[in-house]
Amino acid sequence: MVVRQYQEELKYLEKINDYCWRIKKGFQPNMNVEGIFYVNNTLERLMLEELRNSCRPGMVGGFLPGVKQIANVAALPGIVGRSVGLPDVHSGYGFAIGNMAAFDMNDPKSIVSPGGVGFDINCGVRLLRTNLFEKDVQPIKEQLAQSMFDHIPVGVGSKGIIPMNARDLEEALEMGMDWSLREGYIWAEDKEHCEEYGRMLNADPSKVSMRAKKRGLPQLGTLGAGNHYAEIQVVEEIYDKWAASKMGIEDKGQVCVMIHSGSRGFGHQVATDALVQMEKAMKRDNIETNDRQLACAHIHSTEGQDYLKSMAAAANFAWVNRSSMTFLSRQAFAKQFHMSPDDLDMHVIYDVSHNIAKVEEHIVDGKQKTLLVHRKGSTRAFPPHHPLIPVDYQLTGQPVLIGGTMGTCSYVLTGTEEGMKETFGSTCHGAGRALSRAKARRNLDYKDVLAKLEQSGISIRVASPNLVMEEAPESYKNVTDVVNTCHAAGISRKCIKLRPIAVIKG
């Protein structure tokens, strides 16, 4: 590891424009490509402060600062283009959260890294619309929040209410949302409006350990803990009237439901298992990285392929999970309003994954290439007319769902041509942590956090109040800063802003 003074480090960073910085080669050893990160003034301060703190003598342990992690990823074998840090970037295991990196599938040295996907495989956001308006919901907001809370089990160790046995799980892992469709939990249109149509075809449940399946089985249809939530939201602002209308959003005040969840313990176990395998593979194939946490394997090695197949199974798990919660939310609304979900027009607007690795076609230096794109805390944002986005969004670009933190705003963005060129069609995923979990627990009191939410008129149901401070808005970067940076940098466009009126949380 290079040890340098903060001022020395800054020489390797260059501000290209108001929203974009370049990380030059040499910032970390063996960088194959340059790094880039997107920040505005506020986020820039946070980012550089993190770097400065790490340069102080005696700073050891903990994660490396985000900038360093972006540069370490740029040193991985087979990386093409640039290692990209999105505005919500913060330190994570190996890869920073909010980092995207693409590897050439036709380069035999290229790698796949579980750290580049994250432990919560296919964590993502789904947005349902309704034809209700705020005035319809306000009078029964508390009952509705309670009804959602009763339907969707939340918290660490929660168990789902959809009966499943081991065989159902095997099928669900292979079929993804097609399983939910077959069993009748969701609508045909839900599949249409989901990344990958809710199913990764290369999923192979036989590559998944027994342990992962045991952990996953009772957790299907549960929200989980941490930053996951289900929120009832209202449209606060519409920036792009036409794109919003394509999504079925007509006016301010319209009510939506946002579900933010992932593959629960299942994905975590798949990632853990893979890391063990990959450490062995790295030794065998002499793969060198700057950071031990960047465990990886050649894409075409057995370990690499096994990981991709089990990751796909975990991705399918997450889609079934979000689909089950879609079903349960529809039930909760139907009960409260004594109307069918159909009559409430509760369609899925879109479903995005922000922790995943996918094989995609991109243009690199004027040539079409097949890449393995790692997006960790980064959302795919494909431009209008891209063949992989639903027909309904061919003119607007792919909807990108950005979940804020508990009690703050969320956004819907759309993908752009510029993003396709600059960031391999990727953008931010949420607010991004500013305080570590431990620091948040020390600095904040959960009673204050809950009181503040109540003051702003947000009904809240939580399973574990004493963990709420970790997720308080103060622990995060401001999502509006993050989204505005993406918009200003042109890598995605603002479309809709949503404000929560009820939160269900682990």
């Binding site: 160790g157 789902g160 009966p163 077959r182 069993e183 009748g184 249109e189 007319h385 061919q394």
Partner: protein
């Protein structure tokens, strides 16, 4: 799979033939050579007639070369060519017998003799390029508000499309079923994704994109309908609140 062709050749086992069975395959080849193709002299057919020999595939390969079969991919494809070849030879031997048989004469043959009404399609006697005809199309076009194409027959095609799609008995009764519902979208301001440098060309490309999106929407709708019809059979969503457990 070659039933019709084998019927034409009067092959007895044509209904039972399975070209993937080596015995069937070899028998048929020998029959074709013996009865129809007769490329080798009788005394030279020894090898090909020995259908149980292990070297038969070699013999077959050589045979194909000898009759100049251009196909080299699959034996089954070669067999199909051989059958076609046999038919060609058969026709050439008896072309006088086969020549008068045309689609029309066959139809006449099969027609019941009694009500011999001459089918007189009035369209057959029309002159599609007469001024009168062109004027008629022009009138029709104006009536249906269709833009004119330099080729009047293309204009007629457009008219026919409109009439078939929107003016048939069913849709006239229920016009809403065909009128596309949807919200306006400023397509001409939307991004095209590429620039051809000419605004007229760009607009044309946008219109092509719209047509493509409409096709895609139809396809997706049909996919969704199929899924729903399958769901009617398979769906059985269940919940059991007793299983639920809220975490800490």
């Amino acid at each position: 799979m070659f039933k019709r062709k084998l019927k034409a050749l009067d092959y007895i086992d044509r209904d039972k033939i399975n070209a993937n069975d080596p015995q069937h395959f070899r028998k048929l080849v020998v029959w074709l050579e013996d009865q129809k193709i007769r490329h080798y002299k009788i005394e030279d057919r020894k090898d090909i007639r020995d259908i149980n020999s292990t070297s038969w595939p070699e013999t077959f390969k050589r045979y194909c070369e000898d009759v100049a079969c251009p196909i080299t991919t699959q034996p089954v494809d070669q067999l199909e060519w051989l059958i076609g070849f046999a038919i060609k030879l058969e026709f050439e031997d008896n072309y006088k017998k086969y020549q008068p048989i045309t689609g029309k004469s066959l139809k006449d043959m099969n027609k019941p003799v009694a009500p011999n009404i001459k089918s007189s399609n009035p369209l057959d006697n029309l002159d599609f390029h007469s001024a009168e005809f062109k004027n008629g199309i022009e009138e029709l076009r104006k009536l249906l508000c269709i833009p004119r194409h330099s080729d009047h027959l293309v204009t007629l095609q457009a008219c026919s499309k409109i009439v078939c799609m929107r003016l048939n008995a069913e849709t006239l009764l229920n016009p809403k079923s065909i009128v596309l519902k949807g919200k306006e979208f400023p397509i001409l301001e939307a991004e095209l994704g590429f620039n051809m440098g000419d605004p007229v060309l760009n607009n044309a490309a946008k219109i092509l994109r719209l047509l493509y999106i409409q096709d895609l929407r139809d396809l997706q709708t049909r996919i969704n309908e199929t899924i729903v019809s399958v769901q009617n059979i398979t769906a059985n969503p269940r919940t059991d609140t007793k299983l639920g457990k809220v975490g800490r």
